[in-house]
């Protein structure tokens, strides 16, 4: 190897610590060689992060799978008390928010600042609508005494008020508590991700209003879009698993 290819002598400008001539965009970090490398690293990093998120939710899905197989009647009974209209609306709202987010990424790429802010704001609004509807559902469940650990009564499952529901034996009715625990753990964890996402969106609207993403630096919007779509996809799995068990009866 040519010994000069590993430089061991400090370069005049680099090591002096003084600001040096910039021949690259301001958003490029100095430890990257070029903007392409920065973009690839950021995007790859986001995918790896989403992989950890899949494993994180995976633990919950695993618990759900096992307990649902054991206590299927309880899971059916618990699931059938949920409000399917609100659940479906929320699914539509979330898919809509993914659309506005995708449009936000597109606007950033097209360098349209106004449009970017508009779509980010719409995403925030839809996010709030989702959380709001979820809040209504949680409140209803609280009123129906379906919150494990706070107020939980098996009354509704042993002696259902709904004539179409099948009454459960008391020991199986106890197991609906596990269903509702998983329901709150999974939707709660999902809502937490939504809240984190909405907070980040506020920050991004502020940054976007200062023109941060419409001068070629699309990576943050793109990566946030990946996160938002991921949270959306988690809901796409949660909706049938929690709301639609044996609805055909």
């Amino acid at each position: 190897m040519d010994s000069t290819s590993i430089a061991t002598t400090p370069h005049e400008l680099e090591s002096s610590g003084l600001p040096h001539a910039h021949d690259h965009p301001a958003f490029m970090r100095h430890h990257f060689e070029d903007i392409g490398q920065q973009r690839e690293a950021a995007s790859f990093g986001m995918w790896v992060f989403l992989l950890t998120e899949i494993m994180f939710f995976g633990g919950l899905f695993c618990a759900y799978l096992i307990l649902r197989n054991w206590y299927h009647p309880a899971f059916v009974a618990g699931s059938n008390t949920l409000n399917i209209a609100l659940g479906t609306t929320n699914t539509a709202v979330l898919i809509g928010s993914s659309f506005t987010m995708a449009m936000a990424v597109y606007s950033a790429e097209m360098r349209r600042k106004g449009q970017l802010i508009l779509f980010l704001t719409l995403t925030i609004l839809l996010g709030f609508v989702f959380i709001g509807i979820k809040g209504v559902e949680w409140t209803t469940e609280y009123q129906e005494q379906h919150v494990p650990g706070i107020n939980f009564s098996i009354q509704e499952f042993v002696h259902p008020t709904n004539p179409k529901a099948i009454p459960l034996a008391p020991d199986m009715a106890e197991k609906t508590q596990l269903y509702f625990f998983l329901y709150f753990a999974m939707t709660g964890m999902h809502a937490l991700h939504m809240i984190i996402g909405i907070s980040l969106l506020f920050f991004m609207v502020w940054r976007a209003s200062r023109g941060a993403y419409t001068a070629g630096h699309v990576i943050p919007v793109e990566n946030f879009g990946l996160y938002w779509h991921f949270v959306d996809i988690v809901w796409i799995f949660l909706f049938p698993l929690l709301y639609l068990i044996s609805r055909y009866r």
Binding site: M1, T8, T52, M55, F56
Partner: protein
């Protein structure tokens, strides 16, 4: 064949006038740094702090076990002491030990990059580590945790009245710190390699850390959600893991060990990564079977995810699944053996010298082999029923973790100390420490194999008087081991001021990190290097040094 390498004359070596240590000054320049080398140093101080706490707790355990009755401390205090020892040593020392310090320092240097891909996330991981550390310390100060480091349910969720939630949240935070370290390594290794640095030119250190990072990002989130479920169950008294409410305590075991078994590979793979570098450097030979060693790291990471049930053989799992997991566990021995055999072949006909890192590396090979082979005993279904929950498991685990990983960590710290600080450690003193550590280790933990085989159960403060002789051996060994660890704590700081100045490449090693000044500049390379030779090419190094450009600092 090995290349004849003569070590450079250090009497003329000078410290470079500019390095990452002095390019900026002040506390703020350290606490807000993005420089992977400074973050590695922050980690080094932090994990040493927690190692000392964990070590003191280990000393208390051994002191209690000096005599058969529970006389030094109350039995529930003893439970808290060994639990805190386990939690601190596993989550705050072993998991971050090599990756967050030596790995953080070296991976960018080895792949030829100026920094890790995400410097701010790297710093964030250090802060998360400390938040986790403070949670765990406060759990200890407030009264401790007595479930063991395994948080077995329903004990941890319903039957103990200690600070389980605080400790679990600490581990949750420390877990995210480890996820971020792994994420950073994976992206850096994929995307930041310098021109010409192909995957099969990477030093084996990088391969080892790549495999470790895979486990970190895939395993740790599962532990995180498991601990969240444990905390929720404790707070709201509802039971995914509680059998009285229809939950499944075995589910907790599955989820916990799905992380915690791969986690032992998080703890050992970086150690193996260090050993590859040290063995090659001090035998002046390319690592024998480079590709096999590289892939064996990845194989360990992959197999490591498929063996977790061997912690649960006596917990009432299906016998058929136990058979499969027993077989899979034995298969992990294959890639581990590939490494041991290939290191031995690397030594064969090498120009071996016995500097301190090499002594530690020999310690690693011997002790890890014993630790690994006793793992086969435990993987055998019939044997496991007799040996599990006894001191045999304790000895097996400590042979791999302390005899393996800690030896490797010490090897790595000594090996790269000149690169990190620019100064040599005192050689005679450190050789003494290495030998003392080895002797102390054997005396401490070998008797525990016999104790366990005779049936002494783990996690009890008291034991029958018949077992006392071996326990006295073990405690005596622990005090020798303590001296072995105390010495580096004294002479390494001493060497920061009085150590001999090392020069760029005191070992005549081939890695990219050795071709730049010690300690390196903040930006590592003034120009991004171009790699045109294999890793461990001592011929290249021998020819290169004829006209090496000396650092002008």
């Amino acid at each position: 064949m090995s290349t004849i390498v003569s070590l450079p004359d250090q009497s003329t070596a000078k410290l470079p006038s500019k390095s990452y240590l002095n390019q900026e000054y002040g506390l703020k320049s350290w606490l807000l740094t993005g420089d992977h080398k400074r973050i590695a140093m922050l980690y080094l101080f932090s994990i040493t702090f927690f190692f000392i706490i964990g070590g003191v707790l280990a000393g208390l355990i051994r002191l209690e076990l000096l005599t058969p009755p529970a006389d030094l401390m109350a039995t529930d205090t003893y439970n808290k002491v060994f639990s805190m020892h386990g939690i601190i040593m596993v989550f705050l020392f072993l998991v971050p030990s090599v990756p967050a310090t030596i790995g953080n320092f070296l991976i960018p240097l080895m792949v030829g990059a100026r920094d890790l891909a995400f410097p701010k996330i790297n710093l964030l991981s250090w802060y998360l580590y400390w938040i986790g550390g403070i949670f765990i310390l406060s759990a200890m100060v407030l009264g401790g945790v007595d479930t063991g480091w395994t948080f077995t349910t329903p004990l941890s969720t319903h039957y103990v009245n200690t600070h389980v939630v605080t400790a679990a949240m600490g581990i949750f935070m420390a877990g995210f710190s480890s996820i971020f370290t792994g994420l950073n390594f994976i992206v850096t290794i994929h995307r930041m390699r310098c021109p010409g640095m192909t995957w099969f030119r990477l030093p084996l250190f990088v391969w080892g850390h790549y495999a470790t990072s895979i486990i970190m990002i895939l395993g740790t989130p599962v532990l995180a959600i498991t601990l969240v479920l444990v905390a929720l169950e404790r707070i709201f008294n509802i039971g995914v893991f509680d059998p009285t409410k229809g939950g499944d305590p075995l589910l907790f075991q599955h989820l916990f060990w799905f992380y915690s078994h791969p986690a032992v590979y998080i703890m050992i793979l970086p150690g193996m990564a260090v050993i590859s570098e040290v063995i090659s450097t001090f035998s002046r030979k390319r690592v024998f079977g480079y590709t096999a060693v590289a892939f064996s790291s990845v194989a360990i990471a992959v197999f490591g995810f498929l063996v977790w049930e061997h912690h649960m053989f006596i917990m009432g799992v299906s016998q058929y699944s136990a058979l499969v997991f027993s077989l899979m566990t034995m298969l992990v021995a294959v890639p581990s053996a590939i490494k041991i055999f290939n290191w031995s072949m690397t030594l064969y006909k090498g120009s071996i010298t016995f500097e301190t890192p090499m002594l530690y590396a020999f310690g690693f090979i011997g002790l890890f082999t014993i630790g690994g082979l006793t793992g086969i005993f435990l993987a055998t279904l019939g044997m496991d029923i007799h040996l599990t929950e006894t001191y045999f498991v304790v000895a097996h685990f400590h042979f791999v973790m302390v005899g393996g990983m800690l030896m490797a960590y010490m090897a790595g710290i000594h090996f790269w100390w000149p690169k990190m600080t620019g100064r040599m450690y005192p050689e005679a003193m450190s050789k003494t420490a290495a030998v003392i550590t080895f002797i102390g280790f054997i005396v401490t933990f070998f008797p525990q194999f016999i104790l366990g085989y005779l049936g002494m159960p783990r996690r009890y403060a008291a034991y029958p008087a018949d077992f006392q002789v071996l326990n006295v051996f073990s405690t005596a060994g622990a005090s020798i081991l303590g001296i072995g660890y105390l010495l580096p704590l004294l002479y390494l700081p001493w060497s920061l001021i009085y150590g001999q100045i090392a020069g760029n490449n005191p070992w005549q090693a081939t890695g990219l990190e050795w071709q730049i000044q010690s300690p390196p500049l903040t930006e590592n390379f003034t120009e991004i290097p171009i790699m045109d030779h294999e890793a461990y090419d001592y011929e290249w190094l021998a020819n290169k040094t004829h006209h090496e450009v000396q650092t002008v600092g």
